[in-house]
Symmetry: C3
Subunit: 274 residues, 3 copies
């Protein structure tokens, strides 16, 4: 599958923590190399330097794109240093391009990791780099453009074993679960790593503790509306993971919570305080 | 007009208060269903949960697009609850897709409301939903994709009467007008609901009161430059409505004003304090 | 070169300080006029009214696009006032459209300034303006659309001499250089106007003073990683200019620095305090 059917260039998505102005410089590279190519911005406002949260968000954003898409991901606090630029060849024909710091790994696992290759400076294409701080423009975008035109991942450089990175795993506990906050969304909702499927069917309430705060009993609902404005609750998020939310408010502010905070849940089946 | 001329897919615009990361998941659905379709991001940073302001901004953004465009709008604090997912069929062939909470109504009125249909879960297309909190991805985007490919609105579900929502109406008063702030723009300018056309021709000054603050006489100008940096004034905004602004500053901060604040104007024709 | 090869419309890029909602109204104009045209958002979150910083960022973003691109740039605090709407015809066939306030000038100089023309209201195309505050939608976008379809710059209005604007120039000093902060990026890095090439080869440290703060000796490195989290340093930025940075932190906050602040560097060859 060196080239998509009909000789068309592959779709390229762009994701970063760089902000729009730096992202624009990556787009210039892509447009110049792929005059008829299609590119789609996913997000350029990811939290700066937050590899773990980015790995989670990137997987959620990218998983729905067609097989064969080139996903360019630049969350790269180690730019210019020891981390290696890589392309990951996925089982569905998608290619992931970015730094080998783990940010691509959870998505690669989901799409199927078929191989990974270090991007050699001499084979990436594009003009010589200016400075050492923007591989997004100088290394990853030229490589993504070549891949979109059908270049095989293996022709960009030698095989490497990519750095494994696993999102933190939740643990079942007696009558509950323990996990952490993986992502705070735009609404201040706390997306945890605890699967919605672990919550017992028929639950109406949960005891929730975030960080070192005392546990609170909240309702387990299917809509923010059920809670009523300003009320805390828990829901099955769109990620398939338990979410702690405040209806029309910001749970993150209310609990002073951020990514990485411990979350403890206890099921409260059959019990109710109204 | 089941399909645009030449069998091309319709243009889809995307608007939301979801932020880029959730919006990306809607784009994945559209790209997968419409490999050659065109989509245009309008805004994904609308104020969270603010249906009224969104209705105003969406109308202003979407009104200029070609007849037949599919406008996907997700400002949906009631997701998962009682509000119904709908498509509105407009007289110009445009289709509006989103929650039936009023956010689509002012735009529909402007384009001509020809019919409205509830989107039935079984007919929306796309994979089964994950969770109950993201109809943008699970219901609206698949429906928009089908509409863009030519599916008729009526085939997505039964006819409904959409929830009416009217932007707050201004009132003429003796020698002035009463209204409210509809929108605070990126510059902190206060866009009111009082038509520019109500301001008497030849006006040079207005008395303006926002919220409970005392009335201030300000200049009625045609450019921020006329006011000079840091000076308050009023202008005919690009919405055709009176705008209260501070040149190179933020009127919203200066008046501690936000959407919904009462605005009183008094014409000051012929009078001047220099 | 009235029209790009094959009669295709030219690529249009959009840049502004307007935010997404106003930018969407410019896109409506472009889409309506250029149903098959391609447009690429560069940034709409540039600092409000900051012509100098925008001129720098625009040049960096736009320089990599193909010859012949139409760059629409709206950072326009003087809208409705005395400044003139212009199009600049560049030597590579690119056209720059925006206010004649200097924001286009550095890019024009880089691409080669072949001619400039005032955009006459009667020739810009598009519906009549609403208000006097949004030439981006009412003047510049219609003009950009016409240019993208092949209209010659000279046919939009009479020749003008555009307002010169030069980015502030750095000065060599005895054993160092004097300059200023041109841009604060999303990470809070301070991009100066002092060329990386001025730093003596083999430098390991620099004395850096920003604003009125005392000079500090910092390491001259090629990656943030070398500094270690929370440490200040200096690097050769991706703009080819010296950047002052804090690894995984915000140098702008640490130094309370913003655009326009004076920067003094002294080379510290051979000396080291460890």
């Amino acid at each position: 599958m060196a080239r998509p059917p009909g000789g068309r260039t592959r779709l390229v998505t762009l994701t970063s923590d760089l902000g729009a102005a730096y992202a624009a410089q990556m787009k210039a590279v892509l447009v110049r190399t792929l005059p008829a190519g299609r590119m789609v911005d996913l997000a350029h406002d990811l939290p700066a330097h937050a590899i773990g949260e980015a790995a989670f968000v990137v997987r959620a954003m990218a998983r729905g794109f067609p097989a064969g898409t080139v996903h360019l991901v630049v969350v790269d606090p180690g730019v210019g240093g020891h981390r290696v630029p890589i392309v990951i060849d996925c089982s569905d024909g998608s290619r992931l391009v970015g730094p080998d710091n783990g940010v691509l790994y959870p998505l690669a696992e989901e799409l199927g990791l078929r191989g990974a290759y270090r991007i050699e400076p001499t084979r990436r294409g594009g003009p010589p780099p200016v400075g050492t701080t923007f591989d997004g423009r100088d290394v990853f975008a030229p490589a993504a453009a070549r891949l979109a035109r059908g270049t095989l991942p293996a022709s960009l450089g030698p095989p490497v074993t990519p750095r494994r990175y696993s999102l933190p795993a939740p643990e079942p506990t007696r009558g509950g679960a323990r996990g952490e906050v993986l992502h705070v969304d735009r609404f201040g909702n706390l997306v945890t790593n605890i699967p919605t499927a672990w919550v017992p069917v028929g639950s109406k309430e949960l005891d929730v503790a975030v960080g070192s705060a005392r546990s609170r009993r909240v309702r387990w609902v299917t809509s923010y509306e059920e809670l009523g404005p300003g009320r805390l609750g828990a829901l099955g998020s769109s990620f398939g993971l338990v979410e702690v939310a405040e209806a029309r408010g910001r749970a993150a502010d209310r609990w002073n919570a951020r990514v990485g905070r411990r979350v403890r849940l206890r099921w409260a089946e059959g019990r109710s305080r109204g």
